[in-house]
Amino acid sequence: MAQALNGLEYGMLLFLLSVGLTLIFGMLGVVNLAHGSFYALGAYAGIAVAVFTGSFWLALCVAPLVVAGVGAAIERSCLRPLYARGPNAQVLLTFGFIYVFDDLLRWLWGSHVRSVAPPAALAGVVALGPGRFPVYRIFVILFGLAVALLLWLALERTRLGAIVRAGVWDAEMAAGLGVNVARVFTAVFAAGAGLAALAGVVAVPIQAAYPGMGVEILVRTLIVVVIGGLGSLEGSLAGSLILGQAETFGKAWLPDSSMFIIYGVMAAVLLLRPTGLFGRALR
Amino acid sequence: MSDPLLRCHALTRRFGALAALNGVSLEVEARERRAIIGPNGAGKTTLFDLITGELTPSAGHVEFAGRTISGLPPHAVARRGISRSYQRTNAFRHLTAGENLRLAAAAGARENFRLLAAPPPPASTSAAVREVAHAVGLGARLDILAGRLSHGEQRQLELGIALATRPRLLLLDEPTAGMSPAETQRMVRLLAALPREVTCLIIEHDMDLVFTLADRVSVLHHGEVLAEGLPAAVRGDPRVHEVYLGSGGEA
């Protein structure tokens, strides 16, 4: 039971991360290898705000906005000139940003592990059946679900959401509708970066922050997105929940081979069903 | 009469609910020059994609020289002797015109897999390359990068690449697309001078070109064959006038 809840909480964290990556891919066609760096940046920025103001909640609001701004700046200045050059140049560019952010974080905050305690309202544990479970982890689960619901509403019910979903299908068509695609691209990239940062802040009280955290989580995020289907919100949620459980239980039952199997599943999905569980064919 | 070189049998291709091509049957004799005309969206390029294997038919099949080729991968279809040019120039932009032609001429050559073979001499010295270059009027331009050629020259190169594989059947998709009248004149002369051994299927909007070059004409409309026959007969067909020539919008 506690295992399953842990897996659920981890899955929700993965969802916050992967949904941004998948929306960016769906809209811009870019596989953003710097996504893990946005996550790490969010975590450190969150710690800075929390330590400075003493408020975790403020950190939860401010850090994602800052990182979204960074994301928007990167999209405008660096990614935009590369859209015409195909996926290889874009992937290489975002790979370069891993180096930049990794070092920047070490520079600003040092290499040691940092953490903040969860806010007082979420401290402590609750009794769940026979076991006990930290309140904060339950908060993470509910928070992830709330974000999923909000994103779903935003995509289904708003004009921007409709455009984004149209963009998932066909960028040319969106241009035909008189939409400023360039601005939508920036907005989606910024939102994706902000969501990754949100995951970073949320993760800090559980996992702490350390400079290599971004690279470590990135590949798992890619696995989620591939299994769920590139460009799909539902897929990202499903993939996150699956990987959250698989990794949590895998570590308990098959400690030696669980990651090997998970990477193997990723490879198999790419080969046999590149659209994943929920992805739509892009062509 | 001998068997036709190309036989399309009730070819259908659907994209979702839309049937881009709907039960098209077509027979082209060896040595024939056949023009395919029809308004935009009639399914002409889809027909080419189905013949070359770049698309697979939803129903029906294609026979070439008496054997079914539908289901073969595109490179295998090409190896049987079918070559095509594209509506938008689809050359190797960062290679010289000569290298473009040599790559086309060398498709299927055994030495392509000799990883440690000596480097071949410059493309412009190859007899096969020079011959094709001469045929498409690029004899003096072999050392220019394909991306740097003028639009008209790129169209000539497009034709040259298709020819250099020494095809038995040549599919030409709007060879004069985007050309000036002078360039078009030149292209018509080049096409007219092609050896008769090369059977041609030509998609074209330029009616003068169609009536100059084609032995027979097939008219596609909404994915179906509307009419087929000698150029003069097709020109006189009132249905063809109505959908295509009539209001003068397309031609």
Binding site: G86, G96, I98, L104 | A107, G108, N112, L115, T165
Partner: protein
């Protein structure tokens, strides 16, 4: 052309003479550059010549290292252990991974190759008999008839010999008719298919050749360091090599070597002044991707061409 060849020859002579001219640190640096130069060249065969951006190349580098470590430690300190077995293992792995990976293209190829290299990483990381996260230490250098490879200058020439071998072989491959086909694939894959080329077979052949040479580079890395660890298999190892290729100039053989020299040289130079050399390197790399996609070599050519 002729002057370029002369320049390369003079460079090789100078590199060969290094152990007698400079101290042990620069010599070690040069050896590292040679090894990574081999690795980056082998990746460039895929990336620059055939248009395949592989994040899985580290799998073959690491595999070569592990096979060499196992064979040199446990079987015999011979050239078979140091060269033949690692190359053969990497070739076999390249055949399987390549066969599967080239079925997809674009970002799917990138992610699939990444997934494969992570499978190798996870396997090594969790295998006790491979030393798990620590890897395999105490890898001896092979014994060649009468040569003591533990002596710096002998080992230096040994690595240089491998480098020259890889360079000459790859130069031959990229200029052969096969290499020309790869360039065609890189430029316009769809048209190559339409012309009748069985493109997948050519890509697979290139993938296997690249993997084999990467395996040799990995073996040299294990001999150079005296150990091999799962780090060598991790996908960012491929990323580092991709970075070298891009900085130096993809689609050339001098480019990756130049990139390896720039990367390793800059790393050692900057790290003595500042801890933040990765920031500078990352920023430089981004600059190259944005403004000089042909790399250092392209910049040099632009300068020369006016």
């Amino acid at each position: 052309m002729r002057s370029a060849r002369r320049l390369a020859l003079a460079g090789l002579v100078a590199v060969a003479a290094l152990p007698w001219l400079v101290g042990s640190y620069p010599v070690k640096l040069a050896q590292e550059i040679l090894i990574w130069g081999i690795f980056a060249m082998s990746l460039d065969l895929l990336m620059g010549y055939a248009g395949m951006l592989s994040f899985g190349h580290s799998a073959f580098f690491g595999l070569g290292g592990y096979v060499a470590a196992l064979a040199l430690r446990g079987w015999s300190p011979s050239l078979v252990s140091a060269l033949v077995l690692p190359a053969a293992a990497a070739a076999a792995a390249g055949l399987v991974v390549g066969f599967l990976s080239i079925r997809v293209s674009g970002v799917y190829f990138i992610m699939l190759t990444l997934a494969f290299s992570q499978m190798f990483y996870a396997a090594a990381f969790n295998a006790e008999w491979l030393g798990a996260s620590d890897g395999l230490p105490g890898v001896p250098r092979p014994r060649l008839i009468g040569l003591d490879l533990d002596r710096t200058e002998v080992f230096h020439l040994y690595i240089l010999a491998f480098f020259v071998l890889a360079l000459v072989a790859l130069a031959r491959v990229v200029r052969s008719p096969f290499g020309r086909v790869l360039r065609g694939v890189e430029d316009n894959e769809r048209r190559m298919v339409a012309l009748g080329y069985a493109v997948r077979r050519f890509k697979l052949a290139a993938f296997v050749v690249g993997a084999t040479i990467a395996g040799v580079a990995g073996s040299l890395e294990a001999q150079f360091n005296g150990y091999i660890s799962p780090e060598a298999l991790f996908w960012t190892t491929s990323g580092e090599a991709l970075l070298m290729v891009s900085i130096g100039g993809a689609g050339t053989l001098a480019g990756p070597v130049l990139g390896a020299a720039a990367f390793i040289g800059l790393q050692s130079l900057l790290s003595s002044y500042t801890e933040h050399w990765t920031l500078i390197l990352g920023a430089a790399f981004i600059g190259f991707v944005l403004w000089a996609p042909e790399g250092l070599l392209g910049l040099a050519r632009r300068e020369a061409g006016g």
